[in-house]
Protein backbone atom coordinates (compact mmCIF):
# COMPACT_ATOMS: atom_id res chain seq x y z
CA UNK A 1 0.00 0.00 0.00
CA UNK A 2 1.14 3.54 -0.64
CA UNK A 3 2.49 5.57 2.25
CA UNK A 4 1.20 8.97 1.17
CA UNK A 5 -2.11 10.42 0.16
CA UNK A 6 -3.18 13.97 -0.56
CA UNK A 7 -6.80 14.19 0.42
CA UNK A 8 -8.79 17.11 -0.94
CA UNK A 9 -11.63 18.88 0.84
CA UNK A 10 -13.59 21.42 -1.22
CA UNK A 11 -15.47 24.30 0.28
CA UNK A 12 -17.80 26.36 -1.93
CA UNK A 13 -17.94 30.10 -1.21
CA UNK A 14 -20.95 31.71 -2.88
CA UNK A 15 -20.85 35.33 -1.77
CA UNK A 16 -18.50 37.91 -0.23
CA UNK A 17 -18.22 37.52 3.54
CA UNK A 18 -19.57 33.94 3.57
CA UNK A 19 -18.61 31.90 6.58
CA UNK A 20 -18.97 28.23 5.72
CA UNK A 21 -18.67 25.21 7.97
CA UNK A 22 -17.22 22.05 6.48
CA UNK A 23 -16.81 18.50 7.69
CA UNK A 24 -15.05 15.46 6.28
CA UNK A 25 -13.36 12.26 7.34
CA UNK A 26 -9.74 11.29 6.76
CA UNK A 27 -8.94 8.14 4.82
CA UNK A 28 -8.98 5.17 7.18
CA UNK A 29 -5.90 3.61 5.58
CA UNK A 30 -3.53 6.34 6.75
CA UNK A 31 -2.28 6.83 10.27
CA UNK A 32 -1.23 10.43 10.50
CA UNK A 33 -1.92 13.89 9.09
CA UNK A 34 1.49 15.32 8.31
CA UNK A 35 0.49 18.67 6.86
CA UNK A 36 -2.11 20.91 5.32
CA UNK A 37 -2.21 23.27 2.36
CA UNK A 38 -4.97 25.64 1.25
CA UNK A 39 -5.50 26.66 -2.34
CA UNK A 40 -7.72 29.55 -3.45
CA UNK A 41 -8.25 30.81 -7.00
CA UNK A 42 -7.08 34.39 -6.42
CA UNK A 43 -4.82 36.36 -4.09
CA UNK A 44 -7.64 38.88 -3.72
CA UNK A 45 -9.73 36.41 -1.74
CA UNK A 46 -6.73 35.20 0.22
CA UNK A 47 -6.01 38.45 2.03
CA UNK A 48 -7.93 38.39 5.29
CA UNK A 49 -9.52 34.96 4.77
CA UNK A 50 -9.53 32.83 7.90
CA UNK A 51 -9.86 29.16 8.67
CA UNK A 52 -10.53 27.19 11.82
CA UNK A 53 -9.67 23.51 11.90
CA UNK A 54 -10.34 20.60 14.22
CA UNK A 55 -9.11 17.09 13.54
CA UNK A 56 -10.39 14.19 15.60
CA UNK A 57 -12.04 16.70 17.95
CA UNK A 58 -8.72 18.40 18.70
CA UNK A 59 -8.16 22.08 18.02
CA UNK A 60 -5.54 22.58 15.34
CA UNK A 61 -6.26 26.18 14.33
CA UNK A 62 -8.57 28.76 15.89
CA UNK A 63 -11.24 30.33 13.69
CA UNK A 64 -9.17 33.51 13.31
CA UNK A 65 -6.19 31.69 11.77
CA UNK A 66 -5.35 33.24 8.41
CA UNK A 67 -5.52 31.03 5.34
CA UNK A 68 -2.30 32.72 4.20
CA UNK A 69 -0.48 30.94 7.02
CA UNK A 70 -1.13 27.59 5.31
CA UNK A 71 -0.75 28.74 1.72
CA UNK A 72 2.07 29.76 -0.61
CA UNK A 73 2.87 30.53 -4.25
CA UNK A 74 3.33 28.26 -7.25
CA UNK A 75 7.10 28.69 -7.28
CA UNK A 76 7.41 26.63 -4.09
CA UNK A 77 8.29 22.96 -4.62
CA UNK A 78 5.27 20.67 -4.19
CA UNK A 79 6.29 18.94 -0.97
CA UNK A 80 7.37 22.21 0.64
CA UNK A 81 4.00 23.85 0.09
CA UNK A 82 2.47 22.10 3.04
CA UNK A 83 2.34 23.56 6.49
CA UNK A 84 3.71 20.66 8.51
CA UNK A 85 2.38 19.71 11.87
CA UNK A 86 5.09 19.23 14.44
CA UNK A 87 3.10 16.81 16.53
CA UNK A 88 1.29 13.59 15.78
CA UNK A 89 -2.20 14.24 14.47
CA UNK A 90 -4.21 11.09 14.18
CA UNK A 91 -5.78 10.30 10.78
CA UNK A 92 -7.32 6.81 10.36
CA UNK A 93 -10.91 7.93 9.79
CA UNK A 94 -10.73 11.00 12.02
CA UNK A 95 -13.35 13.67 11.61
CA UNK A 96 -12.16 16.94 10.11
CA UNK A 97 -14.29 19.95 10.97
CA UNK A 98 -13.71 23.58 10.29
CA UNK A 99 -14.96 26.96 9.26
CA UNK A 100 -13.77 29.03 6.32
CA UNK A 101 -14.54 32.76 6.42
CA UNK A 102 -14.29 34.84 3.26
CA UNK A 103 -12.72 38.30 3.69
CA UNK A 104 -15.61 40.19 2.03
CA UNK A 105 -13.68 40.87 -1.15
CA UNK A 106 -14.44 43.83 -3.35
CA UNK A 107 -14.48 42.02 -6.67
CA UNK A 108 -17.88 40.29 -7.16
CA UNK A 109 -16.64 38.61 -10.34
CA UNK A 110 -14.58 36.21 -8.21
CA UNK A 111 -17.69 34.58 -6.72
CA UNK A 112 -18.57 31.79 -6.42
CA UNK A 113 -15.28 30.01 -5.93
CA UNK A 114 -13.95 26.81 -4.35
CA UNK A 115 -11.38 26.64 -1.59
CA UNK A 116 -9.37 23.43 -1.78
CA UNK A 117 -7.90 22.16 1.40
CA UNK A 118 -5.32 19.41 0.99
CA UNK A 119 -4.46 17.10 3.85
CA UNK A 120 -1.18 15.24 3.55
CA UNK A 121 -1.82 11.79 4.99
CA UNK A 122 1.03 9.40 5.71
CA UNK A 123 1.53 6.00 7.24
CA UNK A 124 5.00 6.16 8.69
CA UNK A 125 5.05 7.60 12.16
CA UNK A 126 8.46 9.30 12.09
CA UNK A 127 9.23 11.92 9.42
CA UNK A 128 12.90 10.95 9.10
CA UNK A 129 12.20 7.24 8.82
CA UNK A 130 12.34 7.26 5.03
CA UNK A 131 15.07 9.82 4.69
CA UNK A 132 12.71 12.77 4.53
CA UNK A 133 13.63 15.77 6.52
CA UNK A 134 11.49 18.49 7.92
CA UNK A 135 12.24 21.63 5.85
CA UNK A 136 12.23 23.92 8.87
CA UNK A 137 14.32 21.75 11.15
CA UNK A 138 16.80 20.45 8.58
CA UNK A 139 17.10 22.88 5.69
Amino acid sequence: MKNHKFQQIRVRINAPGDSVRFAAETDKLYAKVRGVFASVPSDQVLVGATIGLKINGQDVFDDAHEVRMISCGNQVAPNNKFFRFEEHIEAGGSTVEGRYTDPRGTNPALYPYDVKLYLWLVNETHPDKHGEKHPDKNP
Binding site: D43, L46, V47, Q58, D62, H65, I70, I89
Partner: protein
Protein backbone atom coordinates in the same frame (compact mmCIF):
# COMPACT_ATOMS: atom_id res chain seq x y z
CA UNK B 1 -4.75 16.05 22.70
CA UNK B 2 -2.68 18.45 20.62
CA UNK B 3 0.03 20.25 22.58
CA UNK B 4 0.73 23.10 20.19
CA UNK B 5 -1.56 26.10 19.95
CA UNK B 6 -1.26 29.01 17.55
CA UNK B 7 -2.40 31.92 19.65
CA UNK B 8 -3.40 35.04 17.71
CA UNK B 9 -3.25 38.60 19.00
CA UNK B 10 -5.07 40.91 16.59
CA UNK B 11 -4.34 44.62 16.42
CA UNK B 12 -6.35 47.36 14.70
CA UNK B 13 -4.42 50.36 13.39
CA UNK B 14 -6.75 53.26 12.67
CA UNK B 15 -4.42 56.28 12.41
CA UNK B 16 -1.08 57.03 10.81
CA UNK B 17 1.72 56.91 13.37
CA UNK B 18 -0.54 55.25 15.93
CA UNK B 19 0.89 53.32 18.87
CA UNK B 20 -1.28 50.31 19.63
CA UNK B 21 -0.82 48.89 23.08
CA UNK B 22 -0.54 45.14 23.46
CA UNK B 23 -1.84 43.83 26.72
CA UNK B 24 -2.93 40.24 26.50
CA UNK B 25 -3.32 37.41 28.92
CA UNK B 26 -2.41 33.99 27.56
CA UNK B 27 -4.38 30.95 28.74
CA UNK B 28 -2.94 29.61 31.98
CA UNK B 29 -2.31 26.13 30.58
CA UNK B 30 0.34 27.41 28.16
CA UNK B 31 3.72 26.35 29.43
CA UNK B 32 6.14 27.66 26.83
CA UNK B 33 6.19 29.97 23.84
CA UNK B 34 8.24 28.44 21.02
CA UNK B 35 7.55 30.62 18.01
CA UNK B 36 6.48 34.02 16.78
CA UNK B 37 5.45 35.67 13.55
CA UNK B 38 3.64 38.98 12.87
CA UNK B 39 1.84 39.80 9.64
CA UNK B 40 -0.36 42.39 8.00
CA UNK B 41 -3.81 40.79 7.72
CA UNK B 42 -5.91 43.22 5.67
CA UNK B 43 -6.52 46.88 5.01
CA UNK B 44 -3.49 48.05 3.03
CA UNK B 45 -4.10 47.94 -0.69
CA UNK B 46 -0.74 48.84 -2.17
CA UNK B 47 0.27 47.36 -5.54
CA UNK B 48 3.88 47.00 -4.43
CA UNK B 49 5.54 45.39 -1.44
CA UNK B 50 6.27 47.69 1.51
CA UNK B 51 9.26 46.47 3.55
CA UNK B 52 8.13 48.28 6.70
CA UNK B 53 4.69 49.34 7.81
CA UNK B 54 5.34 49.15 11.54
CA UNK B 55 7.43 48.06 14.47
CA UNK B 56 6.44 45.60 17.14
CA UNK B 57 7.90 44.99 20.58
CA UNK B 58 6.65 42.25 22.86
CA UNK B 59 7.45 41.39 26.44
CA UNK B 60 6.50 38.18 28.18
CA UNK B 61 5.63 37.27 31.75
CA UNK B 62 4.32 40.73 32.70
CA UNK B 63 7.30 42.75 31.44
CA UNK B 64 9.95 40.53 32.92
CA UNK B 65 11.36 39.50 29.54
CA UNK B 66 11.63 41.64 26.42
CA UNK B 67 11.97 39.06 23.72
CA UNK B 68 10.77 40.43 20.43
CA UNK B 69 11.60 43.53 18.43
CA UNK B 70 10.49 43.18 14.86
CA UNK B 71 9.56 45.01 11.67
CA UNK B 72 6.25 44.22 10.02
CA UNK B 73 6.04 44.54 6.25
CA UNK B 74 3.38 44.28 3.59
CA UNK B 75 3.43 41.71 0.78
CA UNK B 76 1.23 41.98 -2.29
CA UNK B 77 1.48 38.24 -2.94
CA UNK B 78 1.98 35.21 -0.78
CA UNK B 79 5.20 33.54 -1.83
CA UNK B 80 6.40 31.36 1.02
CA UNK B 81 4.91 29.65 3.99
CA UNK B 82 5.49 31.79 7.07
CA UNK B 83 8.60 31.06 9.09
CA UNK B 84 8.09 31.28 12.80
CA UNK B 85 10.89 32.99 14.69
CA UNK B 86 12.09 30.38 17.15
CA UNK B 87 11.64 31.26 20.79
CA UNK B 88 12.00 29.33 23.99
CA UNK B 89 10.21 31.28 26.67
CA UNK B 90 8.82 29.53 29.73
CA UNK B 91 5.49 31.15 30.48
CA UNK B 92 4.40 31.89 34.00
CA UNK B 93 0.78 31.05 34.54
CA UNK B 94 -1.61 33.99 34.34
CA UNK B 95 1.03 36.56 33.38
CA UNK B 96 0.60 39.13 30.63
CA UNK B 97 2.04 39.51 27.17
CA UNK B 98 2.61 43.24 26.81
CA UNK B 99 4.20 45.63 24.35
CA UNK B 100 3.26 47.90 21.51
CA UNK B 101 2.86 48.18 17.76
CA UNK B 102 3.94 51.44 16.15
CA UNK B 103 2.72 52.37 12.68
CA UNK B 104 5.65 53.73 10.65
CA UNK B 105 4.09 54.03 7.20
CA UNK B 106 5.12 56.99 5.08
CA UNK B 107 2.94 58.78 2.59
CA UNK B 108 3.57 57.67 -1.02
CA UNK B 109 3.78 61.37 -1.89
CA UNK B 110 6.54 63.08 0.16
CA UNK B 111 4.86 66.51 -0.23
CA UNK B 112 1.48 65.28 1.00
CA UNK B 113 1.11 66.59 4.53
CA UNK B 114 -2.47 65.38 4.94
CA UNK B 115 -3.03 61.85 6.11
CA UNK B 116 -5.73 61.03 3.60
CA UNK B 117 -3.61 58.31 2.01
CA UNK B 118 -3.84 56.27 5.20
CA UNK B 119 -6.27 53.33 5.37
CA UNK B 120 -6.99 51.45 8.61
CA UNK B 121 -5.52 47.97 8.69
CA UNK B 122 -5.11 44.89 10.86
CA UNK B 123 -1.98 43.17 12.07
CA UNK B 124 -1.92 39.71 13.60
CA UNK B 125 0.73 38.37 15.95
CA UNK B 126 0.93 34.59 16.01
CA UNK B 127 2.48 32.96 19.06
CA UNK B 128 3.21 29.27 18.85
CA UNK B 129 2.76 27.92 22.35
CA UNK B 130 3.05 24.52 23.97
CA UNK B 131 0.47 23.38 26.42
CA UNK B 132 1.89 22.32 29.72
CA UNK B 133 1.23 18.74 30.80
CA UNK B 134 -1.21 18.92 33.62
CA UNK B 135 -0.09 17.52 36.93
CA UNK B 136 -2.09 14.52 38.04
CA UNK B 137 -4.52 15.29 40.78
CA UNK B 138 -4.50 12.80 43.61
CA UNK B 139 -7.88 12.28 45.16
CA UNK B 140 -8.03 13.19 48.81
CA UNK B 141 -9.42 9.76 49.72
CA UNK B 142 -6.29 8.17 48.22
CA UNK B 143 -4.06 10.46 50.28
CA UNK B 144 -6.07 9.68 53.37
CA UNK B 145 -5.89 5.91 52.95
CA UNK B 146 -2.15 6.09 52.16
CA UNK B 147 -1.56 8.24 55.24
CA UNK B 148 -3.54 5.87 57.45
CA UNK B 149 -1.63 2.93 56.03
CA UNK B 150 1.70 4.65 56.61
CA UNK B 151 0.72 5.55 60.16
CA UNK B 152 -0.34 1.98 60.86
CA UNK B 153 3.00 0.68 59.66
Amino acid sequence: MTRIRYHIIQLEVTEAGQVVEIRHRLPSNYGRCTGYVARHVKGIGSDVDIPEIGLVAIEFNSRKQLNINDLVGYETQVDQLPDYQELNIPLESGQLVTGYYLDTQKSPDPFDTTKEWFRPYQVAIYLKCEIENKKRHVRSSCIHSATVEAAAN
